[in-house]
Amino acid sequence: MKGVHFTWPGRPRFSLSVDRFSVGAGDRLLLLGPSGGGKSTLLSLLAGIVTPQRGNIDILATDITKLSGPARDRFRAEHFGIIFQMFNLLPYGTVIDNVLLPLSFSKQRRKNVERTSSQAQEAARLLTRLGLPSDEVANHRAASLSVGQQQRVAAARALIGGPEIIIADEPTSSLDRGRQKEFLRLLFGDIAKAGATLIMVSHDETLAENFTHVVRLEDFAKMERGA
């Protein structure tokens, strides 16, 4: 990220500027910052959900600010797995459909899955590794799962098809301490296995020990908030 400046459309007083920010391939980066400090905005920029008014964002040797809207969407589908803080799943869909959803938008990830097994098998394998016995939950509606189980399904969805970059926006904040540890352990295991890059944001510094890099948002980004 170089010389990026971004203002939310319709909210001119809120702006985020980043001079320089980089993440190495295979890194596990923890991005710390207070609530409402622009962390989610930074992730939106990285994932190409919003585009900056100025500056460049180079990801995997592609400047996504130069891509058209649909091309950016395709880029995200191919290379990103995203886990939200909560409400990750389509509540009325089955667990298996939720996990397989990214594959209908990405040819590459579909190919990656089908090289080794079928789509359903791969989803089952991921769910099982994340501690969800897939034969028990695969055909349940996502809404019938507990919050912790839903976050694991979301992780399986982010990981399926082996995207290069996993973005997680406080994925553990809705879990209690014990479950947080468990969830991160499983997530890290799979990410390491896939050789993916993880960018996770949190306001919780106690998580830092598990990451290869820890940065604070205020160290490299400037946020302005009008009255």
Partner: protein, 419 residues
């Protein structure tokens, strides 16, 4: 496939509101098509009021007016046709048959028509159908009457009942022909035409009840009994109008012209079809109003659907954000919402059409019996098909509004998932 399945499941999760919008659209479509069917039925029944007659003749007047008083029994003739002129026309070489019509009296609000027995032979309605008798038969005696179906049912008449004809056209007559009562000889089947509301008697009977009258009132001190009348010459002086059948329809304009230029008396001859159409043009304003109202109902139903989609939009922001995060294009998100609106409208249109035809199937015999309205159960006309298509398209376009709104919001939401 998964995206489509999830969209369907999303709809399924909101099945009650979705069902209600589909029903609203279905009922509105049913109304729209129903009005159209009734409109067509009414127009057809109207056009079918009289058929098989080539010309209607009467005193010189406009075609619509002549049609109104001779066939619809509305209003009065400005003048009569003399018996001599009638005889002349009947003997015209191109004329196959003529039926005289004599109007002017009434019975408890129903018009009395003096005519010849040939009337029951030549009067045709709804595509050459003849008048049929529900009970009894054609008048034979001088004081026999044949009543239409409505007359019989409203007044509760049976064959053999005695009726008195009032003078003039009011439903309450101050003068009547009580000295010469009639016997109900026959009751006609329901036709859905003005025939139902008519009391038919022989042409001679009209003469007979007026024989001791002068200038619209009984001649004081002079009373002729029914038995005396039978012995008298009852050849009429004049009639009100006449139905004319030609040997060849090709001669119709020639005969019409001959009658219009009849030198001894100012007469008019009109083609019933043309006059009916002219008259429908006047009545047709009401049918247009009906069509406009039902179109508005359809628009209301579509608004209802858009409202439904809009109210669920907030809870669907999550759906939008998730789809965007896994790489769905705005076009996909837009498409899903618009498709949903399209699917709902389409389901409504299909359901409405099915309901209409099912309803028609049951209602048709009842409507025909009660109102003489023949509702055609036929495949939707091309106009109806086009209308249905336009409704589905309107639904799709209406769905685009919420879809664009949803897309804008999904952009503004960025990475945050809101509930």
């Amino acid at each position: 496939m998964i995206v489509l399945r999830l969209a369907l499941q999303s709809l399924q999760a909101r099945w009650l509101t979705a069902l209600l919008s589909v029903l609203a659209i279905a009922f509105s479509v049913m109304l729209l098509l129903g009005v159209e069917k009734v409109r067509n039925g009414a127009r057809q029944s109207f056009a079918d009021t009289i058929s098989g007659t080539d010309l209607i003749i009467g005193a010189r007047s406009g075609g619509v007016q002549l049609l109104l008083y001779s066939v619809f029994r509305i209003g009065n003739a400005t003048n009569n046709v003399t018996w001599k002129s009638y005889q002349d026309i009947a003997s015209h070489p191109d004329v196959a048959w003529t039926v005289p019509l004599s109007l002017g009296d009434s019975h408890k609000g129903f018009r009395v028509l003096g005519t010849a027995p040939d009337y029951f032979e030549h009067y045709r309605y709804r595509g050459k159908q003849q008048l049929k008798f529900a009970q009894g038969e054609i008048f034979e005696d001088l004081f026999d009457a044949v009543v239409g179906a409505d007359v019989a049912s409203v007044l509760g008449y049976n064959v053999g009942d005695k009726i008195v004809i009032g003078h003039g056209l009011g439903s309450v007559s101050f003068l009547d022909h009580a000295d010469k009562p009639f016997r109900v000889a026959g009751i006609l089947e329901k036709t859905g035409t003005p025939v139902d509301r008519t009391v038919h008697v022989g042409l001679g009977a009209i003469e007979a009840i007026h024989i001791d009258w002068q200038q619209g009132a009984p001649i004081p001190g002079q009373s002729i009994s029914p038995d005396q009348v039978r012995a008298m010459d009852l050849k009429p002086q004049a009639i009100t109008a006449a139905l004319v059948g030609l040997k060849s329809r090709l001669a119709v304009f020639r005969v019409q012209r001959a009658i219009n230029e009849y030198p001894q008396e100012p007469l008019s001859a009109v083609l019933p079809g043309a006059a009916l159409q002219e008259l429908w043009g006047l009545v047709g304003v009401a049918e247009t109003a009906l069509a406009v109202v039902s179109a508005m109902v359809v628009a209301t139903a579509l608004f209802g659907m858009v409202t439904m989609i809009l109210t669920t939009l907030n809870e669907r922001r999550r759906e939008m954000a998730i789809l965007r995060s896994v790489g769905a294009r705005p076009a996909t998100v837009l498409g899903l919402l618009a498709t949903e609106a399209g699917v709902l409208t389409f389901a409504g249109v299909i359901l409405g059409t099915v309901l209409l035809y099912a309803g028609l199937f049951f209602v048709r015999p009842i409507v025909d019996r009660l109102y003489g309205l023949n509702l055609d159960i036929s495949a939707p006309t091309s106009w109806e098909m086009t209308t249905l298509l336009v409704i589905v398209l309107a639904g799709l376009i209406a769905g685009l509004g919420p879809a664009i709104l949803a897309y804008r919001r999904s952009l503004a939401d960025g990475m945050t998932v809101r509930v």
